[in-house]
């Protein structure tokens, strides 16, 4: 007897061994390398980097391997590592117009300066399982030089319009600006310095900069569901995909010693600008509004969902009626993080003997009182025999 709370230590050790074994799987199958994950599971790597809040493809791939492909667990591993990293400064804000674009589409104009670049996308694949992939090594050296990178996406059948290297590609929403049709996102010199969510606790009311930081780290599934809800009438604001672009951008940092900015590396990022309706008011002429999404790597679903949610959360600032949870800043930001959510949901696995014992004691007491009341009220109703458990209690 009394084995329930003993042996926890040995059980944990045994659990670790089993976990290692389960992660490795059948040892007759070759071990998966981190480099393979990085190269061949690039979309998983992108998600882990985005929500893990660290741009490091190798560490993200390692986390995916260690987590046996559980991306939320991998995100958690990367975040826990991130905590220990010192912060040595801030880079310059990136300018996505300077992006070396791999893919860029707009749903608002048939053609735009710089063209529509389809790039690598699952969008127009017919979702038929490709059984050829079952065969090992079939795809070596199969692809041709250019075919996948840049195809024409517009209605015309013209050849692809590849972006000349080094040429900035203007954003679609900036084109609308010439007519004053859309609000513009410009840094205002007197604007407050954005906070840093990884260094300051989330507080409410939250500025848009803080909200975007939260959403960028937010769970893709949560944002997808909430963004979807906005399309179904929960805070509808009629979105158009103004522009989605994916490509590589240089990161620059000012170095005090040099007095100049130097490039410290490249990022692959996905950016989405949604164009949404706005009725205007007596003092402001009607103009389109924006929702914004940004993610590391190739993460279009995430960036688009983020843009929808960002727009919904601007309801208060734009004077819209708050009628839906998707517009409730505190509700959305407090529940978007999957590291927090996963931890708290799963903490229910931890022992709660003491709380439960307290509740047991209370429920028994209340039931006894209830029974006593019933007996007093109507004696014939007392013998229900509904309390066998309490009768069997004994101190062993």
């Amino acid at each position: 007897m009394y084995v329930a709370v003993k042996g926890g230590e040995r059980a944990i050790e045994a659990s670790w061994r089993r976990l290692d074994k389960a992660r490795r799987g059948d040892t007759r199958i070759a071990e998966l390398s981190v480099a393979q994950i990085r190269e061949q599971l690039r979309l998983a790597v992108a998600r882990v980097m985005t929500e893990g809040s660290v741009y490091d493809e190798e560490l993200a791939a390692l986390a995916i391997k260690q987590a046996a492909g559980d991306l939320v667990e991998a995100i958690f591993l990367l975040r826990a590592y991130r905590t220990t990293l010192p912060r040595f400064g801030y880079t310059r804000a990136i300018d996505t117009e300077a992006m070396q674009v791999e893919r860029r589409i707009s749903a608002t104009f048939k053609d735009v300066p710089g063209g529509q670049l389809l790039g690598a996308t699952y969008d127009y694949t017919q979702r038929l399982l490709d059984f050829a992939l079952l065969a090992e090594g079939h795809d070596e050296g199969k692809h041709d030089a250019d075919d996948m990178a840049h195809g024409s996406a517009s209605g015309s059948d013209e050849a692809s319009t590849q972006q000349p290297a080094g040429e900035p590609m203007p954003r679609v929403v900036a084109l609308l600006d010439k007519e004053g049709l859309i609000e513009q996102e410009r840094p205002s010199p007197d604007g407050a310095e954005p906070g840093d969510l990884s260094r300051e606790p989330l507080a409410f009311p939250a500025s848009r900069a803080t909200r975007l930081q939260n959403l960028a780290r937010g769970d893709e599934g949560f944002l997808l569901a909430m963004g979807y809800a906005t399309q179904r009438g929960y805070a509808h604001s009629h979105p158009f995909a103004g522009e989605i672009r994916f490509g590589t951008i240089a990161v620059e940092m000012e170095l005090d010693e040099l007095g100049a900015a130097v490039e410290i590396g490249d990022l692959d990022i996905t950016e989405c600008q949604m164009i949404n309706q706005f009725a205007g008011s007596g003092s402001v002429p009607p103009a389109f509004t924006q929702g914004y999404g940004l993610a590391f790597g190739h993460s279009e679903r995430k960036a688009m969902a983020m843009a929808l949610v960002d727009r919904a959360l601007r309801a208060e600032e734009l004077g819209e009626t708050l009628a839906s949870p998707t517009q409730d800043i505190e509700f959305m930001l407090s529940h978007s993080d999957n590291v927090e959510a996963s931890g708290f949901v799963q903490h229910l696995k931890l022992p709660h003997y003491v709380d439960f014992q307290s509740e047991l004691e209370l429920v028994r007491k209340l039931r006894a009182q209830h029974r006593a009341l019933g007996e007093n009220a109507s004696n014939h109703d007392a013998a229900t025999g509904a309390h066998p458990a309490t009768d069997r209690e004994q101190a062993a």
Binding site: Y2, A80, V339, H352, V354, D355, L366, E393, Q394, A395
Partner: protein, 315 residues
């Protein structure tokens, strides 16, 4: 006392074991800047007893909801001379307590103990030890939800206002409604308290049985909520009152049984079902208290540090 531990961080990593000393990490895992941030929040919390101080909670290598707040508080205050005890549900042996104790053994190399009296820091989840604490001890609570009003008002911004105005009518109405519905207050754990005659405070989900131990306790009591990013504190010898009404005074749980192992009639008892017929057995939830009372040699010494950790510590 918390200078970066170069000895730990410079030793070569030894494979991918889940339990080797944590090489490449600072003493107690967190970097010194983060500890400083935490200590500032702690000082503020001690200065304003019962007030929830927001802090920039970090992701820890254990999941949110599993004690990250308590772990961060412990990491911020622990020094090499400390002796750490970790309990969950009153027991040193529950899996999460074992895990957190190992975490600090790996990242600090400090001595760990199962004896309440030997510990300088006791990190706890859901209990206050039965053995009275002293002025030399710090009790660190793991807190899932620091806001005592959250079931009544989920909006954090709104709760802040209520605390600022000391407007605690909501909770009194809730307790009153309990009495109307059930004939008594139906809160059995996480029972709200007023700290230092001012702030309504969550004691964390300890059973209300433990609430009286918070009142005028000689030990410093620190509460860390990692996921909710708030810290609060009860300094030594601070009055803590459990909410009640004149005609429905606060009372604690009582058992008709004594502990089946040590015979205590004063301690909080866990109920166990020991056979298919549903036979119950009641045993002290505080495992150290129970061992001490039995005075048997059964108590095992804490898990020894692994050799790798020892080397790292002494190098």
């Amino acid at each position: 006392m918390n200078a970066p531990d170069t000895a730990l961080s410079n030793t070569a990593a030894t494979g991918t074991s889940h339990d080797s000393a944590a090489h490449g990490y600072n003493f107690a895992y967190l970097d010194e800047q983060t500890k400083r941030m935490l200590r500032r929040a702690l000082l503020k919390a001690v200065a304003v007893p019962g007030y929830q101080v927001p802090f920039a909670s970090r992701e820890m290598p254990l999941p949110f909801g599993w004690g990250t707040g308590g772990i961060q508080v412990t990491a911020a205050i622990i020094g090499k001379a400390d002796t750490l005890k970790v309990i969950d549900q009153g027991s040193d042996e529950t899996t999460n307590a074992v895990n957190i104790r190992r975490f600090f053994a790996r990242t600090t190399g400090v001595a760990t103990t199962r004896r309440t009296a030997e510990a300088t820091i006791v990190q706890t989840r859901h209990r206050i030890p039965e053995t009275p604490l002293t002025e030399k001890q710090i009790l660190v609570y793991q807190v899932p939800m620091p806001e005592p009003l959250y079931r009544l008002e989920p909006r954090v911004a709104e709760c802040k206002k209520l605390h600022a105005l000391a407007d605690y009518g909501l909770i009194s109405v809730k307790l009153y409604e309990d009495i109307v519905h059930h004939g008594s207050i139906a809160t059995t754990y996480d029972y709200p308290v007023i700290v230092n005659h001012r702030y309504l405070t969550s004691p964390s989900p300890i059973p209300k049985f433990d609430n009286p131990k918070m009142h005028m306790n000689p030990a410093l009591q620190l509460f860390g909520a990692g996921r909710e990013r708030r810290i609060h504190a009860i300094p030594p010898y601070t009055p803590v009152r459990s909410l009640d009404f004149d005609d429905h005074p606060f009372e604690v749980q009582k058992w008709q049984h004594a502990c089946a192992l040590c015979g205590s009639k004063e301690s909080f008892l866990d109920e166990m079902i020991v056979d298919d017929a549903g036979t119950r057995m009641f045993v002290c939830s505080d495992s150290d208290y129970c061992h001490e009372r039995r005075g048997d040699g059964d108590i095992e010494s804490p898990a020894p540090l692994l050799p790798t950790a020892r080397q790292g510590e002494s190098a």
